[in-house]
């Protein structure tokens, strides 16, 4: 006997994600899921962002890694509330899921956080399947990874609300073509692109303005 089921496979995760989103909305917190390869500079971008925006815009960070609390310690040194999820404690998961984020939220002073960054486990593939209850996704790519990444990882880039291209200070010493990257990105999404260097600070202004604008939009809607 064959019976129709027609359910999303990750419906349990999706239900938890809705719960997370409701908690965030109640606290008036905008959540941004940061996805990118290991070493693309996600934490460096957050350090720079925190250094300029916080505490005028009050930030919070959930760090996801397989192992170590290194990243949460880096963020905490910027004076920003940060909690670390180590997925080695839950089967070495290569991505965060809504259940992990829900638990992490209880360790943060949510009422004091206006923008919460959730830095996913460094990985350009698996995190794209999991809704964490975030409001926006941002993909962080970097120059040394090559200019073909948006075409190679369309499911990840295609769902981004914005894309950061980090390490543009390395453009002169690589074969990376910014027009090729942009062209590939436009095939999968119309999301804004922010070329910047978290190391030199070049290009950070437009990224920070975008983050603040998203915060304003979220505040007016709620």
């Amino acid at each position: 006997m064959r019976v129709e089921v027609l359910e999303r496979v990750l419906k349990v995760n999706d239900a938890l994600a809705e719960e997370v989103r409701a908690t965030l909305d109640l606290a008036g917190t905008l959540a941004i899921n940061l996805i990118g390869s290991p070493g693309s500079g996600k934490t460096a971008l957050l350090e720079q962002t925190a250094g300029i925006l916080h505490p005028r815009v009050r930030l919070g960070v959930i760090e996801g890694d397989i192992a170590t609390t290194r990243d949460a310690e880096r963020i905490a040194r910027c004076g920003v509330p940060a909690v670390q999820i180590e997925t080695r404690l839950v089967g070495n998961a290569c991505h965060l899921d809504a259940n992990l984020v829900r638990a992490a939220l209880t360790r943060l002073p949510l009422a004091e956080i206006q923008v919460l960054f959730i830095e996913n486990v460094g990985n350009l593939v698996c995190p794209s399947a999991y809704d964490l209850g975030e409001h926006l996704r941002v993909v962080v790519a970097s120059v040394p990874e090559g200019d073909d990444k948006p075409r190679k990882y369309p499911s990840t880039f295609g769902r981004a609300a914005a894309v950061v291209l980090n390490k543009v200070d390395l453009l002169p010493v690589t074969d990376f073509s910014l027009p090729a990257f942009t062209e590939g990105l436009r095939e999968v999404t119309g999301a804004p692109l922010f070329p910047l260097s978290a190391r030199t600070g070049e290009g950070l202004g437009t990224w920070l303005a975008w983050v603040e604008a998203q915060r304003e939009v979220a505040r007016r809607v709620s």
Partner: protein, 80 residues
């Protein structure tokens, strides 16, 4: 890869659906995997093969239908 955790979620869902529809054994599971879902069908089938166990799922196999979209859906189950 994350196909293992997706296979776990799928096994749970199939078990629940089987119980809802009064199936004691599931033979085949129809799954739709979108090209933009971030899931590799072969990896999912492999993960499911490793995970399947017990009277309900022990002999079940996946019948994967590939689509263009970003959906990842359990479409049907077959058994008795």
């Amino acid at each position: 890869m994350h196909e293992v955790s997706i296979a776990e979620a799928l096994a749970q869902q199939v078990t629940e659906a089987a119980s809802r529809h009064g199936l004691a054994t599931v033979r085949q599971i129809g799954v739709c995997v979108g090209a933009r879902s971030g899931v590799v069908p072969d990896a999912l089938a492999f993960a499911f093969e490793i995970l399947r166990a017990g009277p309900v799922l022990g002999a079940a196999t996946l019948d994967v239908r590939a689509t263009d979209g970003d959906d990842l859906r359990l479409e049907w189950i077959e058994g008795e």
